[in-house]
């Protein structure tokens, strides 16, 4: 466990070397956020509310969805793929630390810095420019923290799983793009899932993707009653556990294959 936290710290510190990129990313997130907020306003038109979401909440949503991108790193994490192809993995597997946890620790460090840095800055910017919604009761804040942590776990396990295809195919990046595009579409990153027709929402809810962004949004905006929130968090936790188990199973098979083929 100590190694785990050391790795988290190390990776968090490493984030500070990418300052220029972080500023650029922040600017990009803010720009896209403003763009989406404008689209939202135009969509609502004369309406004050749609699908139980007020215009004010919808604008806040555009901020939240941009604020969590860097935190969840949903659309382009290829590190395990690169490590498998470069052979770096053989060395990492020899380390006295579980391979999944090895990456999880590093991703956690990266995620926390991006949440505290980019995420919070974006929301502060939104608070300055728009009249945004804030979670009310302490229970909602606690729920939000849990939702964020669980969302990161679901996202990490999914990304790790996608990366593991590199053990079997020579161009896992292609598969990865497909995998990431599913989270792009079904996580509620483009629009709050409540805006979609019933059947599409149902379809999404059969997958882990809504638990990456949509759950955070619903908890933050207070769209769920107390018991509903608990159910959503439980659902999220179940997916985190399921995907993590899948990671371990697939990883074991992959490592066995690597050993047989001799890297």
């Amino acid at each position: 466990m100590r190694t785990f936290f050391e790795l988290v710290k190390l990776s968090a510190r490493r984030q500070f070397t990418y300052r220029a990129a972080a500023f650029a990313g922040l600017a990009t997130n803010v720009f896209f956020g403003l763009l989406r907020a404008a689209v939202m306003v135009a969509l609502y038109g004369e309406r004050g509310e749609a699908a139980g979401i007020s215009l004010q909440a919808a604008i806040t949503y555009t901020g939240i969805s941009q604020a969590v991108i860097a935190f969840l790193d949903l659309f382009g994490w290829w590190q395990v793929i690169q490590s498998v192809y470069s052979g770096q993995i053989s060395g990492d597997l020899l380390k006295p630390m579980d391979y999944f946890r090895f990456w999880m620790a590093q991703d956690l460090g990266r995620a926390l810095v991006n949440l505290a840095g980019r995420g919070v800055l974006i929301m502060l910017f939104y608070a300055a420019v728009f009249d945004i919604v804030l979670p009310g009761q302490p229970g909602q804040w606690l729920g939000l923290l849990a939702a964020l942590l669980l969302a990161w776990m679901v996202s990490f396990a999914w990304r790790f799983l996608v990366n593991l295809t590199a053990f079997w195919v020579p161009n896992a990046v292609g598969i990865g793009r497909l995998g990431y595009s599913l989270s792009w579409l079904m996580s509620g990153f483009l629009m709050p899932l409540r805006f979609y027709p019933e059947w599409f929402q149902k379809l999404c809810n059969l997958t882990p993707f809504p638990h990456m962004i949509n759950t955070i949004v619903e908890v933050y905006l207070g769209l769920l009653s107390g018991p509903e929130m608990m159910a959503a968090l439980l659902h999220q936790a179940l997916w985190a556990a399921a995907l993590t188990s899948a990671c371990y199973l697939v990883l074991r098979a992959g490592v066995r294959r690597l050993v047989i083929l001799g890297g």
Binding site: F16, R19, A20, F23
Partner: protein, 330 residues
Amino acid sequence: MRRMPIVVRELKKTYQVALQRRGALGALRSLVNRKTRLVRAVDGISFEIAPGELVGYLGPNGAGKSTTLKILTGLLVPTSGEVQVGEFVPWRQRRSYVAHIGAVFGQRTSLWWDLPVIESLELLQHIYDVAPGKFRHNLDEFRKLLDLDAFVDTPVRSLSLGQRMRADLCAALLHEPPVLFLDEPTIGLDVVAKERIRQFIRHINQQRGVSVVLTTHDLSDVQKLCQRVMIIDKGRLLFDGQLSKLQERFGGRRQVVVDFGERYEAVQVEGAEVTQHEGQRATFEFEQGTISASELIGRISARYRIQDLQVREPDIEATIRRIYEQRLLG
């Protein structure tokens, strides 16, 4: 073939190097108010190279070798000074100029990473507009000399470093340039691969009369290839002349290492200096030309009982290190 002498006069290149500030705030401040430092990469260099010469350009890392070469190949514009290669000023007429030179930058390839070698070479034929007959003829010759056949159909990314260098040399010469610039052509290669590259460079220099300027920090490259050597450090030319002259002037001290038959308290011989004396072994150093080795050995044996001895020639590496360290020519 065109004759393209190289003339360099008072060449200078200075860079502004931005100083990094620390911390997030520092990064922001750097954006607004950049602090810079002036670096003199090349600081007033002059030389001439006649057609057909093979010149080694030697110096430690960061001495200004690559900067000079980048200026000579037209990649970089100097701060001041003149360069004339044949009728060209490299950076002013870059596009027409580069058609008449060959250049290989050791760590980078001019070939297409994901293409088989032969396709890269054929593409270069079109880029340099080489007549098909001339192209065939040159390709056939280089294929033999560089032994390319084993890997012409292999993508460049799968070549070993030595193979890649051979392919790059071939690529640099297909359009028959009268001048060839090589930046560290043997870097990272094993002894056999180095020797093969050197043989080829010697061949195109002697048989085709191509002028070659090569930078290196491997002294055996210089010893085995170059009649003339230029030494640069901190942007200044420290030496320009025959390799043998360098030895004479700066590496002049030869050594005789003697193992005595018994222990002596102090040893001393006229005409040589004892630089080391430990147990029964002593090292005598003497200036070349003042006394011959046999004469010195005679004097030693007249005074002491010798059991064994060896004569050491001056070490060029040590010579050059001394030049750098003591700035003998500064």
